[in-house]
Symmetry: C2
Subunit: 398 residues, 2 copies
Amino acid sequence: MGLAFLSRTSMHATLGAGPGDRSAMDGPTRDGGGDPVGRAHADKMGDMDIDLGADVVTLTQQLVDISSVSHEEQEIADAVEAALRGLPHLVVTRRGHTIVARTELGRGERVVIAGHLDTVPLNDNLPSRLEGGVLHGLGSCDMKGGDAVMLKLAADVPEPNRDLTFVFYEAEEVDSVHNGLRKLTESDPHLLEADFAILMEPSNAAVEAGCQGTMRVDVRTTGERCHSARSWRGVNAIHLAGPVLARLNDYVAREPEIDGLIYHEGLNATGIRGGVAGNVIPDECVVEVNFRFAPDRSEADAEAFVRDFFEGYDVTVTDIAAGAMPGLDRPAAKQFLEVVGGEVAPKFGWTDVAQFTKLGIPAVNFGPGDPMFAHKQDEHVPIEHIERCERLLKDWLA
Amino acid sequence: MGLAFLSRTSMHATLGAGPGDRSAMDGPTRDGGGDPVGRAHADKMGDMDIDLGADVVTLTQQLVDISSVSHEEQEIADAVEAALRGLPHLVVTRRGHTIVARTELGRGERVVIAGHLDTVPLNDNLPSRLEGGVLHGLGSCDMKGGDAVMLKLAADVPEPNRDLTFVFYEAEEVDSVHNGLRKLTESDPHLLEADFAILMEPSNAAVEAGCQGTMRVDVRTTGERCHSARSWRGVNAIHLAGPVLARLNDYVAREPEIDGLIYHEGLNATGIRGGVAGNVIPDECVVEVNFRFAPDRSEADAEAFVRDFFEGYDVTVTDIAAGAMPGLDRPAAKQFLEVVGGEVAPKFGWTDVAQFTKLGIPAVNFGPGDPMFAHKQDEHVPIEHIERCERLLKDWLA
């Protein structure tokens, strides 16, 4: 989505946060490549090892206990790289804190299996805690359970029936300019060539197809500043935003059916700001709105909808990324579904499956963990999910 | 207002900005008394002199050209103190950057004439510029024109018909805990004893009586956080604030007549904030509301009105200060009005006249400059205003 994103002339000059991001509110972003903060953090934590011989749950726990907040992936990337370089059947490439490991077996088909290594910021939820069949801790759900499954496949299936490309990438949870998978699509697209891709984002260990698009706009009201003791001399921009919120309250979500899956759109204020000083009638108020749109809408359609919805207001698009159609009719997707089985659900959140869609590679989300618990303080993953994903993928690749 | 303010148990723990303030948005406040920033600034500017022999407009210009943003009043206070100490008929006292100068002539009546020395932050509006009978520059209107008039009275009327107490004080434009006049009411109330007080805040060189009260509240809505891709699983607190803004839009201001003056209340959002991240449904939104209330309401009445207005919402009082009744029926006020003449208007903004009201001293606002231009980038004062105030006060005191 990076290229399309950057080429848009309607885009705001300072690019907003990317679709998988924690938003521009997180403050200035830093490049993850060897940044000093990451190193300092790694030094403080001490070197952590991961053991590919351990079972997949233990391995998940090891990964969770290596703190890897976005831009601080140095340590976990080092550990993953070291582990993969110990496997002679894999060709390993590193770009920043993104690691690619490929089999070169000359199979007739190649599959990419991808997962990000970073997490959202710490929220007093490390180290991990295994309790009653559930692993708790930052990143357990989003998405170190999936990363652990990938590492186990890499270690335990040296001769898969399809060639495999594992991608462990950095900076998915922040501004999309830092996204390791997006960077790879630009710097080394040949490393990603494949017939099918599986993104191990949390999806309850079931297949979630396609993904919805996401768009951010600023809806701005403009008033006239004056002293609040003589407020009738000015025009209050925050008061002018009242009808903007009223429209949002009246919004009814569209729920289209696509390839038999029911998507569910959403239009929400995710931020609001206004105010000059406690004694000044404010002349500007900005409502930050996030539109999540079904994959049957193009970016242009989505933008037209939002502009129409807020007709009469100043609307600035700050970020937009189209979704991905389910693509379940593609042969590679069909074969995967036959082996993995279960109900296929629509993916509501934007995920990096859209990166693959842009490369023409059908892709699905399939990973352990309930996405409802992603980014929550009590993030967790049922160990049964991790084990099921490992078992199903091993069955498919054996 | 400081004592009443601090004694309120309903008050938020971290006290909000005071009524004359530029609000809590200005960031941490520092104590003005000999703070290192003030000194560094003074050193950088070099020592500036003021010349009490100059005409009142030139003197205003000299004062404007001594930058004196709140907490950086060292230099201007030094200059004012030095000038006053050169006048043998005055007894000068200094507290921090607040200067008190008193005649001790044993007259039957004593009048306080007060003005603050600080300004709001620089806004590319210094040095001053005299053009077409108007003096432009930061502080020209609020309120160095008034300060210059006070200095001219001090220098040119060594034997006034009433004893005079001049108060040049620090830190009026910031959090009220720093306000030099308020501090003086606590540390040295005997220095303020008087029969009448004139506050030389800008009032178009006419008398503005009393002042309205001011109150700040946070109106808070609470929702439930969730990922914005599945917004129907949460409750959007910003959307919940829509009806709060709708109520503000429906507000009709009360305009009571008090002592023949028409006051004009106002209820306004001066700030709004909400949002966790660009992909999160926010669980909190806070509308910062400023209520300006006529002086016939007590603090308790004002609070009851606001709580009733926002019934059903979480309302936290962050700051409150009662206004001041016009008090035009007091003998000292009547005599002043007879000499000065002109139309008496109500004061809409909260000013330090309320400090005098608390001491039982009738007080009016009377100073050069249109308060509409206070705190504006193009702050300015008609020189005719300055000259008129000087002339009328000299007539009254001669």
